[in-house]
C-alpha cells in the first residue's frame, strides 16, 4: 500500500507536468519560474503578502470544516473585508493617523466578515439551510455589491476603480506574517486545548452524538461560522493593505478565499499547517505572475494547486486505509 500511496503523489506530479505542457511556458517554464521565486528574497517576501488573504481564510475554514460546517463563503467574506477596510481608509471621512487607520480597517474587516459568516451560520443553525450553497450565493451577492460600489458611489476618475489607499496604510510583510501567526496560533490552541475545540471535533465527527450528549449544536454552528467569517474578513483587509491597494470592477472575484478552501484541506484542517500550505500556494501565485509574461493564463496556478491538494488527500487516504487491520 505504501507504493500505491506514493503513486498518488506521482500521479499528481504527472498531472502538473501535463497541465504545464498545455500552456505556452511548458513544464520547464513552470519549474524555472518556481525556481526564480524560491531564489529571490524580494519575491519570497512578496509571497508572504499574497499568502495573507489565503491563510486568513484557511485558518478559519479549518476550524469550520472540523465542525462539519462546509461553508465556502470565505471568498465573499474576503471581498467584504476588503470593502470594509477601503471604507475606513478612503471613504469614511475619518482622518485617522496611519496606525489607527490600519487597526480600525482590520477591525472593521473582521466585523464585516464575522457578520457575513454569521448569516450563513444562522441560516444553518435555525433553519437548516445547507451552508455550502447559501454561502456560495452570498459570494456572488457580495461581488455584485462590490461592483456596484466601485462603479457607483466609490468611483474616482475615468476608470471604474476606487481611490488608492495611501502608502502609509500599506502593510509590510512582517506585519502580515504577525497577523497570520497570531490567528493561526490562537485557533490551533482553540482546536486542541479548549472546550470549544473539543465540541467542534465531536460535532464534526458525530453530530448526533454531540447533540445527544449535551453539546449545544446550534450555538456551536453560530460560533464557528462567526469565527470563520471573522478570519476571512481580516484576510480581506490584508489583501487590500498588503498588495491590492485599489479595487477595480471585476467579472469574477479575486479567488483568494477559494484558495483558502484548498489550503485548509491540504493542511488536513490544522490552522498552523494551513499557514505553511498557504505560503506554498502563494509562491505558486507569484510564479504564476511571472508566467503571465509568457501568456500563460493566471488560473493555471489554480489547476496546479487543485492537483496538489488532490494528490495529498489521496496520499493520506490510502496511507490511512493501509494502516487499518
Amino acid at each position: 500500500m505504501k507504493a500505491s500511496a506514493a503513486l498518488a503523489l506521482l500521479a499528481g506530479l504527472v498531472g502538473i507536468v501535463v497541465v504545464a505542457a498545455m500552456t505556452p511556458a511548458g513544464p520547464a517554464g513552470l519549474f524555472s519560474a518556481l525556481a526564480t521565486v524560491y531564489t529571490r528574497p524580494d519575491l519570497l517576501a512578496t509571497a508572504v503578502l499574497y499568502a495573507g488573504p489565503i491563510a486568513a481564510s484557511a485558518v478559519g475554514l479549518a476550524v469550520a470544516y472540523r465542525a462539519g460546517f462546509l461553508t465556502i463563503g470565505s471568498e465573499g467574506q474576503v471581498l467584504l473585508g476588503a470593502l470594509a477596510s477601503m471604507w475606513v481608509i478612503g471613504y469614511s471621512g475619518l482622518r485617522l493617523p496611519p496606525v489607527l487607520a490600519v487597526a480600525s480597517a482590520l477591525l472593521l474587516a473582521l466585523v464585516a466578515g464575522l457578520l457575513l459568516g454569521l448569516v450563513v451560520g444562522v441560516l444553518r443553525a435555525w433553519l437548516g439551510v445547507n451552508e455550502t450553497l447559501s454561502s456560495l450565493m452570498l459570494n456572488y451577492i457580495v461581488l455584485a455589491y462590490a461592483n456596484y460600489l466601485i462603479a457607483g458611489p466609490w468611483r474616482v476618475g475615468a476608470f471604474t476603480e476606487t481611490k488608492s489607499i495611501p502608502p502609509s496604510c500599506s502593510l509590510a510583510w512582517p506585519v502580515v506574517l504577525a497577523c497570520l501567526l497570531a490567528m493561526a496560533v490562537v485557533l490551533e490552541v482553540l482546536v486542541r486545548r479548549t472546550r470549544l475545540g473539543l465540541a467542534v471535533e465531536a460535532l464534526g465527527a458525530a453530530p448526533r452524538a454531540a447533540e445527544t450528549y449535551s453539546l449545544p449544536s446550534r450555538r456551536l454552528y453560530l460560533y464557528v461560522s462567526a469565527l470563520q467569517g471573522a478570519t476571512a474578513g481580516v484576510g480581506g483587509a490584508l489583501m487590500l493593505m498588503g498588495f491590492q491597494r485599489v479595487l477595480t470592477a471585476m467579472s469574477v472575484s479575486p479567488g483568494y478565499g477559494y484558495m483558502g478552501i484548498l489550503v485548509a484541506w491540504m493542511a488536513l484542517l490544522s490552522p498552523l499547517a494551513s499557514l505553511l500550505a498557504s505560503y506554498f500556494f502563494s509562491t505558486l501565485i507569484v510564479a504564476g505572475y511571472i508566467l503571465q509574461s509568457y501568456r500563460v493564463p493566471f488560473n493555471t496556478v489554480l489547476v496546479i494547486q487543485s492537483i496538489i491538494v488532490l494528490a495529498v488527500l489521496a496520499y493520506v487516504m490510502i496511507g490511512r486505509r493501509s494502516r487499518r487491520p
Binding site: R193, T194, R195, G197, L198, A199, E201, A202, A205, A206, R208, A209, A210, E211, T212, Y213, S214, L215, P216, P325
Partner: protein, 497 residues
C-alpha cells in the same frame, strides 16, 4: 431426505481476530426446517453469510447437490436458489415493493416486467396469506411487513434453500406464529429452510432438526423428537448458565422522574410516529417499553432525550416542563442516554476513549480550557470499573468490541449518578454474559434511586427487569402493565392498532 447443501469444515476469522467459524460442517436437507441455534456471537450469521456467498471462508468447501461450488458474489448463490433473508430486512425505502422485488428477480437472472412482478406478488401473497401490497412504498411498511416481503421474494425466486437469519426479531408474537406456518409450508413443498434463532422455544416449535453453535463451533445436531430444553441450553452455553438479574423488592417510589403527557411526534416522512403517548417513570423503578421496531419507539426515545420536539403534548423531567429544552438542559438535570447505535450516536467513531469520555462531560463541566489530564484519569477509572477490555485509553473506540463499547458507554453514563436513564435496545447484539451484565447495571442504577426507561424488542428481557411495562404499537402506548406480568395480555397489546 437428501442433502441439498453441505458446508464442510468452514473456517472464518475476521480481521479483528475473532474466530467466527471454526471447522463447521453442516448438512441442509430438502423439505426440512433446520434450526440454527446459538447465542449472539456464536457464529450463526457468519455461517449463513458463507452459504449465501456474502462472505468467502478462509478455508472449507460448499457442496450443492453433490457438487462443490464456489460463490464469488451473492449473485452466484442466488442463481442456484440459495437465498439469505437478513435479520433486519433491508429494502430500499423509496422504491415500491414491486420495484424492490423486481430488482432482485432481475439480478437473479429471472428478469420480468413490472406488471408481471406485481401480478405474481399478489398471487403469492394471497396463497401464503402474506398480505403484501406490491404498490406500497417500502418506507411505509412495518418491520413485520418488510419481513413478509422478504418471504414473498424467497418464494417468488423459487428458493431451494431459504436462509432466514433471526426472522422473528422484529415480529409480534402473533406474527411469529404465522411465520412458523409459512416456514413449515415452504418445507412441505420440498424446500430447505434454515431458521436461525437464539430462542430455544421457537426452535423446538418450528424445526425438524436443530443444530447448535457455540463460540464458532458446531456443538451438535439433535432431531426434533430427541431435543429437550435443558439439553439445548447446555449445548448453547456449555457449563455457563445465564441467570437473569433478580429484581429486588421495593418497586415504584414516590417521585416521578419523567412524565409524558399526550405527546404527538412526527416521523421522518411527515407521518405521525407517536400518537398521544402518556407515561411516567418513577424513582427507583425500571420501566420497559415493549414493541416491535418501527412502531414509533425511536421517535419517542428521541423525544425523551430532547432530539425531537413533539408537535403537541408535554415532557416533564423531575416535574419541570422540558418539552422545548435541548438535551443539554436535560443532561444538567441528570439524564443518562444509552442509544441504539453505539458508534456514531453513543460514541464518536475514530476518536480515542479519552475523547469519548471528555466530549460528553466538557460542556457540563464548564471552563474555557479542557483539562485533558483529569479526563484521562476519569477514562481510566471507567475502563477499570466497568472491566472494559482496552489496551490504552488513547486507543480509538472503534477498536473495541461491541460489548466493550457498551460497557464504556454505560460507565460514562451511569457512574456520574444519573436520575433518569433512557436506554434503547441496550443488549441488542451482545452475548449472553455481557447482556446480563448490562441488565444488572440498569437494575442497579434503579436501586440507587434512578428512574430507568428501557426500550426493547425482547419481551422476555423486559419482563425480567421491569417494574412496569408499556407496549408501543403503531405510535400508541398501551398499558401500563404491572408486576406480575400477564404475558398474554402484553403480547396481545403488541398487535393492537
Amino acid at each position: 431426505m437428501e442433502a441439498v447443501l453441505r458446508a464442510e469444515d468452514i473456517h472464518v476469522t475476521y480481521p479483528n481476530g475473532v474466530r467466527a467459524n471454526v471447522g463447521v460442517t453442516l448438512e441442509v436437507r430438502g423439505g426440512e426446517v433446520l434450526g440454527l441455534l446459538g447465542e449472539n456471537g456464536a457464529g450463526k450469521t457468519t455461517l449463513v453469510k458463507v452459504l449465501s456467498g456474502l462472505l468467502r471462508p478462509d478455508k472449507g468447501r460448499i457442496i450443492y447437490m453433490g457438487r462443490e461450488v464456489v460463490f464469488n458474489t451473492p449473485r452466484d448463490a442466488l442463481r442456484l436458489g440459495i437465498i439469505l433473508a437478513p435479520q433486519t430486512p433491508r429494502l430500499f425505502p423509496g422504491l415500491t415493493v414491486a420495484e424492490d422485488v423486481g430488482l432482485t428477480m432481475r439480478l437473479a437472472g429471472r428478469g420480468m416486467g413490472l406488471q408481471e412482478v406485481r401480478r405474481r406478488l399478489r398471487e403469492i401473497s394471497r396463497e401464503y396469506g402474506l398480505g403484501v401490497d406490491p404498490d406500497a412504498r417500502v418506507w411505509r411498511l412495518s418491520m413485520g411487513e418488510r419481513q413478509r416481503v422478504n418471504l414473498a421474494k424467497i418464494i417468488m425466486l423459487d428458493a431451494r434453500v431459504a436462509l432466514l437469519d433471526e426472522p422473528t426479531t422484529h415480529l409480534t408474537p402473533m406474527e411469529r406464529r404465522s411465520l412458523v406456518q409459512v416456514m413449515r409450508r415452504m418445507a412441505s413443498e420440498g424446500r430447505a429452510v434454515v431458521f436461525i434463532t437464539h430462542r430455544i422455544g421457537e426452535a423446538l416449535e418450528a424445526c425438524d432438526r436443530i443444530a447448535v453453535m457455540r463460540k464458532g463451533r458446531l456443538v451438535g445436531v439433535v432431531e426434533r423428537g430427541e431435543a429437550s430444553r435443558e439439553q439445548l441450553l447446555r449445548m448453547m452455553f456449555g457449563d455457563y448458565t445465564p441467570s437473569k438479574p433478580s429484581r429486588r423488592s421495593g418497586g415504584p417510589g414516590a417521585g416521578r422522574v419523567l412524565e409524558l403527557v399526550e405527546v404527538w411526534v412526527r416521523g421522518p416522512h411527515g407521518t405521525w410516529a407517536v400518537r398521544g403517548a402518556s407515561m411516567s417513570v418513577e424513582e427507583g423503578c425500571v420501566v420497559g417499553v415493549a414493541g416491535v421496531a418501527g412502531n414509533g419507539q425511536r421517535e419517542l426515545f428521541e423525544t425523551v432525550v430532547g432530539l425531537r420536539r413533539p408537535v403537541r403534548g408535554r415532557v416533564l423531567l423531575m416535574g419541570v416542563d422540558v418539552t422545548r429544552a435541548p438535551p443539554l438542559a436535560r443532561r444538567r438535570m441528570g439524564m443518562a442516554v444509552i442509544p441504539e447505535e453505539r458508534l456514531g450516536w453513543g460514541l464518536v467513531p475514530g476518536r480515542s476513549i479519552v475523547f469519548n469520555i471528555a466530549f460528553a462531560h466538557a460542556w457540563l463541566d464548564g471552563g474555557f480550557m479542557v483539562d485533558w489530564q483529569s479526563y484521562r484519569r476519569l477514562a481510566e477509572e471507567i475502563v477499570s470499573a466497568m472491566k472494559v477490555k482496552a489496551r490504552s485509553v488513547e486507543d480509538p473506540v472503534d477498536s473495541l468490541s461491541g460489548g466493550n463499547m457498551q460497557r464504556l458507554l454505560l460507565g460514562r453514563e451511569l457512574l456520574r449518578g444519573a436520575r433518569l436513564v433512557a436506554a434503547m435496545n441496550p443488549t441488542a447484539g451482545l452475548d449472553a454474559r455481557t447482556a446480563e451484565a448490562v441488565d444488572s447495571m440498569l437494575v442497579e442504577a434503579a436501586s440507587r434511586g434512578a428512574g430507568v426507561l428501557v426500550f426493547s424488542e425482547d419481551l422476555d428481557e423486559l419482563m425480567t427487569i421491569s417494574d412496569k411495562i408499556y407496549v408501543m404499537s403503531r405510535g400508541r402506548l398501551h398499558g401500563p402493565f404491572m408486576r406480575p406480568f400477564d404475558y398474554k395480555a402484553v403480547a396481545a397489546a403488541m398487535t393492537a392498532g
